[in-house]
C-alpha cells in the first residue's frame, strides 16, 4: 500500500514538474537586471482625469502601447490580458492584481473612442492618452516605441508600435516585459512568481 502511494506521489510530482516546465516555456517574459523608474509624464485617462507617472505607484501595472484603429493585434492583446488578470486572481491576493493600462499613441483618432475601446475588455482597464510629447515620454518610460506613418491619399495611416507589455512595480519602476503570445495561465504564473519574488525581496530589504 505504502509503495503504491509513494509511486502515485512520484507520478503527481512528475506531472506537476512537466506542467510547470511547459508553462514556463510558453511565456516570453524578460525580467530586467535593474528596475528603471518611469520618468515623469502627464496624460489624461479615458474619463479625462490626469494620469501621471505617479498614477503608476501603489499597485502593480501592466502597460501596453496601441491605438484604437488597431483592429487585430491590440484587441487580441487586451482580451488576453483580461484572461491573464482573471487567472492571476486565482494566484495572488486582490490587492496585488495589476491595473491594465492601454497607452493610446494616436491621440486625435483615439480620444473619442478610447473609453469604449478599453472597457469592452474589462470595466477596470484604463485608457490613457494626451499630447504627443507626453505620450513619447510615457513610451520611453515603458521602453516602448510607436511610429505614426505618413497618411495615404485617403488620409488613412498606420501606426507601428511595440508589441510587448511592460510590468511596472508598485514603486513605479519598469521591472519586466512580456511579449506575445500572452497565454493566460503561464503568463499569470510568471507574474505571480515575479510579484512574490519582488515583495519578498522588499520585505528582506526593509528588515536590514
Amino acid at each position: 500500500m505504502l509503495k503504491r502511494r509513494q509511486l502515485r506521489l512520484v507520478a503527481t510530482v512528475a506531472a506537476v514538474v512537466a506542467w510547470a516546465t511547459m508553462a514556463v516555456a510558453r511565456v516570453n517574459g524578460v525580467i530586467l537586471d535593474s528596475p528603471a523608474l518611469v520618468q515623469a509624464f502627464t496624460l489624461d485617462d479615458h474619463n479625462g482625469k490626469p494620469f501621471t507617472a505617479d498614477s503608476l505607484k501603489g499597485h502593480w501595472s501592466l502597460v501596453l502601447a496601441g491605438f484604437t484603429n488597431c483592429p487585430d493585434v491590440c484587441p487580441f492583446t487586451l482580451a488576453n490580458l483580461e484572461q491573464v488578470v482573471a487567472e492571476l486572481g486565482l494566484r495572488v491576493r486582490p490587492d496585488r492584481l495589476p491595473a491594465v493600462i492601454f497607452l493610446a499613441v494616436d491621440p486625435d483618432r483615439d480620444r473619442p473612442n478610447l473609453k469604449d475601446y478599453v472597457v469592452q475588455f474589462h470595466p477596470d482597464f484604463i485608457g490613457v492618452t494626451g499630447a504627443i510629447d507626453q505620450i513619447d515620454r510615457a513610451l520611453k518610460g515603458i521602453d516602448a516605441v510607436a511610429v505614426r506613418a505618413k497618411p495615404d491619399a485617403r488620409g488613412n495611416y498606420q501606426v507601428t508600435h511595440s508589441a510587448a507589455v511592460a510590468v511596472i512595480d508598485p514603486q513605479g519602476r519598469l521591472v519586466a516585459k512580456i511579449s506575445p503570445p500572452f497565454e493566460p495561465a503561464p503568463t499569470a504564473q510568471f507574474l505571480a512568481d515575479l510579484f512574490h519574488q519582488r515583495e519578498n525581496a522588499r520585505a528582506v530589504g526593509s528588515g536590514q
Binding site: P71, V73, A79, N113, Q158
Partner: protein, 163 residues
Amino acid sequence: MIGAWLELPRLAVIGSALVGAALVPVVPASAGESLKIENAWVPWAPPGLKVHVAYMTIVNRGATDRVIVGAESTDYERIELHRSVIKGGVSTMQAIDEVRVPANGRVEFAPTGLHLMLIGPRRPQAVDGHVQIVLRLSSGEEVDVSAVVRRRDDAGHDAHSHH
C-alpha cells in the same frame, strides 16, 4: 511502443479513405464551389470605432490554387486584406495585394495574422448579427461569406484552437 507503431498505418489508411470520400462529391465546377468558408466571424466592437476586422478559414478543395485579390461588403466603405506582423518586438500591419489559397489546402485568417480589415461601418454592429462579405478572386469569380458578429471572449476558443 510496438503496439503504437502498428496502429499508425491502419490510421493512415482510414485517414486517406476519409479524405478520398470527402473529395469525391466536390469535383469543382467553379471557384465558388471549390472554396469553402469556415468559422467566419467579426469580433463585436463598440459603436464609434471606424475599423473592424473579420476572421475565417478558407478551404480550397479544388485542384488548382485560388487567389483572393479583394473583398467588399455593403456594410462597410471598403475592405482591405491585411497581415499583422510582430517582428523585433514591434507590431505592424501590412496591406497585402493577394492571398493565395493552395490547391487542396487552407488559409487561416486569424488574430495576429492574416485578417480582413473592415473600414468605415455603414450601420451599427449587433452581437449575433451577420456581416455579408464578398471575396473577389483573380479568376473574376466571387465567394459569398456570411460572418457572424461575436464577442471576443465567446470566440476565444476558436481563436486559440490552432495552437
